[in-house]
């Protein structure tokens, strides 16, 4: 089983780690990338929001949006970066604008500046953009990407298209037309509608929005092509999806929901990683009559068994994809040694 995960890391060129929050996704992503480096590959891990000490261990100072080398005792190479949504977006705008003036106009616009925080899916979108940028750079054999803790798998599968859909908004396109054409094209209902928006949120908001769409004019095509590229990359057979969960019911339910949506999008789950499993301490029968000692062992046996049952449905749904189990570790993982320990559970010795 675990050999398969090892092969995924050894052969694929992109691994996307997905799952809900608090299930150890970042740690899993980092462990997979370390294993690739141990297999002699040039690997890069893109993390979204690592716990501070893990970030320190990976040499991420919190500001870097470009890959930094992680020193380690392996034949390959390992780079890590922490996604900075805003600077990724800024770089994208600067690169694809027709002129420096256009880029400046966009970067200064209030709607644009709010976008990184507010447009749902911007973080997912930038994660995918970063993935695309790294994948096309040719610098890596494998890119492991940790995704934002999204409920909905479509949020990132669909993320690249969101911006183009946003830019295509018909109502605001109409607003940008010259006055005479505008009067012809815009129905009475639409005018009422726009007046309503102005009334509720204030005219300046609408004016800002119009300025935003003006600023972006002509760039939609480039964004659209790029969105298609990213989609193809995600659908490619060289891309693997690793679903990460904990055995708690709510996390497993979210993972199932996720698996369903990936399936609908025609994407297979290539492996399931279950973190934070309680150990069962062998299978010798727990004796009665030994007070707290016996009770403690029975408690762990009982939860371990129920946890195992919890993800059986999910495991059989994604079969023949392998399931890797990582027990509750004695402490938090915040250094390469800790990642090595997780790796032993994911890949065997």
């Amino acid at each position: 089983m675990s050999e398969n995960l090892s092969r995924i890391v050894g052969e694929r060129s992109v691994v996307v780690c997905c799952g809900s929050g608090g299930v150890g996704k970042t740690t899993t992503a980092a462990t997979l990338a370390v294993e690739a480096a141990r297999q002699g590959r040039r690997a890069c891990v893109v993390t979204i929001d690592p716990a501070k000490r893990l970030a320190d261990a990976l040499g991420l100072d919190g500001l870097s949006n470009t890959p930094g080398r992680v020193a380690g005792d392996w034949p390959g190479e390992l780079d890590a970066l922490m996604l900075d949504t805003k600077s990724t977006f800024d770089a994208l705008v600067t690169r694809y604008a027709a002129s420096p003036e256009q880029a400046e106009g966009i970067l200064a616009n209030r709607v644009y500046r709010n976008m990184s925080g507010a447009l749902s899916g911007t973080q997912e979108y930038m994660a995918m953009e970063k993935l695309h940028e790294l994948a096309t750079s040719g610098a890596y054999d494998l890119i492991v990407i940790d995704t934002p803790p999204t409920r909905n798998a479509l949020d990132f599968l669909d993320a690249p298209r969101r911006l183009t859909r946003f830019l295509d908004n018909r109502v605001f396109k109409l607003l940008m037309m010259p006055t005479r054409a505008y009067m012809k094209a815009v129905s009475l209902a639409t005018q009422t509608f726009l007046r309503t928006i102005s009334k509720v949120v204030g005219g300046e908001v609408v004016a800002d929005a119009v300025a935003f769409f003006h600023a972006f004019e002509g760039m939609e095509q480039g964004f659209r092509e790029r969105a298609d590229d990213v989609s193809r990359l995600l659908q490619a057979s060289s891309t693997a999806f690793v679903l990460v969960t904990s055995p708690r019911r709510d996390a497993v339910e979210e993972a199932e929901f996720f698996a369903d949506q990936l399936q609908e999008a025609g994407i297979d789950v290539d492996a399931l990683v279950v973190n934070r499993l309680h150990p069962s301490f062998g299978n010798a029968e727990a004796p009665e009559g030994l007070g707290d000692l016996g009770r403690n062992l029975r408690d762990f046996r009982s939860i371990a068994e129920r946890e195992e049952q919890h993800f059986q449905d999910l495991a059989s749904r994604i079969a023949p994809a392998p399931v890797a189990r990582v027990p509750f570790l004695v402490g938090d993982v915040h250094d390469l040694e800790g990642l090595g320990l997780v790796g032993r559970h994911l890949f065997g010795d």
Binding site: G21, G22, V23, A51, R53, R110, V111, N114, G117, A118, L119, S120, P149, R151, N169, R170, V171, F172, T192, F193, T196, K199, V200, V201, G202, E204, V205, V206, D208, A209, F212, S246, R248, R249, D250, E253, P279, F281, A284, E285, A286, P287, E288, G289, L290, G291, D292, L293, G294, N296, L297, D299, F300, I303, R306, E307, H310, F328, V330, D332
Partner: protein, 319 residues
């Protein structure tokens, strides 16, 4: 402190914490504790998908229409009700209430809401919190328990009203933002219950969130709830072979090893937890409510009543 007094100190309880720490469980526990104290609690879920139904033994998801979540044939005590309140729901209701029913459909379908909410970040949060405020004002229940979005977003969720006051200078949205700011800043109407686990990363995050909420929102912080604390167990240090001999039980080598390993694991985790609890004590001057780890991967009605009782006992001991 008397439990019903605690539950009535503010009408609104906002439960916030990082993903995976058991925020939904704690939301349900507060509501159940209130119901056990003969109060009526309304759970409000804002993300449109949560396991809150499961906790009360129901298979269906909450809906925009309130449902009664209490066990059938309650014993004359209080009730727990539950409903969702997503931004889309809140927007629709807002438009209808402001006489804009006609455009409401178009607004939702044209994507213009996406544009507007990008231009005015936080507008969705304001719509939700504005509706919560209306429920609070209408005395919709003895207490409202709001299952807030996962932390990180929790801070944004609660600061958006202030941000909006700067952005929108006029209009009904500004009025609504002002109402929400007033509600959040009023310690007699609203408090935040932060939830965490006794583990390093969640502890770091809850400390950070607590200070941000206090500095940026000026919101009253209620007790800190720490989920999944191992109940103390004596006798973990004893040698299984000695204990077995005294009890007249014969152990195989495998059994002795299993017992010893399990005891060592638990002792070690208890020590780690104790260390994190100490850190919380030092970093946050908030009373703590510690909920026991229940050795089950799921919380259903039976577990919920254990948790509600544990919470009530500790609330009773609060000054």
């Amino acid at each position: 402190m008397d439990v019903s007094q605690f539950c009535s100190a503010t009408r609104l309880f906002i439960v916030a914490g990082k993903g995976g720490v058991g925020k939904t469980t704690v939301t349900a526990t507060i509501a159940q504790m209130a119901a056990d104290a003969a109060l009526t609690a309304l759970i409000i879920e804002v993300e449109g998908k949560s396991g809150i139904g499961n906790v009360f033994g129901r298979r269906d998801q909450l809906t925009y229409e309130e449902v009664d979540l209490s066990a059938a044939g309650g014993s004359g005590r209080g009730r727990v009700r539950g409903r969702t309140l997503t931004p889309d729901d809140a927007l629709l209701e807002y438009l209808v209430e402001h006489g804009m029913k006609r455009v409401s459909k178009r607004l939702a379908s044209s994507g213009a809401l996406d544009v507007v909410s990008t231009a005015v970040p936080g507008i969705k949060d304001i719509l939700v919190l504005g509706k919560v405020k209306a429920l609070e004002r209408a005395n919709a229940a003895d207490l409202l328990v709001l299952d807030a979005p996962a932390a990180g977003h929790a801070v944004t969720f609660l600061t958006s009203a202030k941000g909006l006051l700067d952005a929108a200078r006029v209009g009904p949205i500004r009025t609504q933002a002002q109402d929400v700011v007033d509600l959040l800043a009023d310690p007699d109407r609203c408090q935040v219950v932060l939830v965490t686990l006794p583990e390093e990363t969640p502890v770091n995050e809850v400390i950070e969130t607590a200070y941000k909420l206090e500095d940026q929102v000026g919101i009253k912080l209620g007790p800190l709830v720490i989920n999944g604390v191992y109940p103390p167990l004596d006798g973990l240090d004893a040698d299984p072979i000695d204990v077995a001999r005294q009890a007249g039980v014969t152990l195989s080598a495998d059994q002795a090893r299993s017992l010893r390993d399990a005891a060592a694991f638990r002792s070690h985790r208890q020590e780690l937890q104790a260390e994190q609890l100490r850190r919380l004590d030092e970093a946050l001057p908030l009373p703590q409510i510690r909920l026991p780890f229940l050795f089950t991967p799921e919380v259903g009605p039976a577990e919920l009543s254990v948790l509600a009782e544990a919470m009530a006992e500790q609330v009773a001991r609060l000054p």
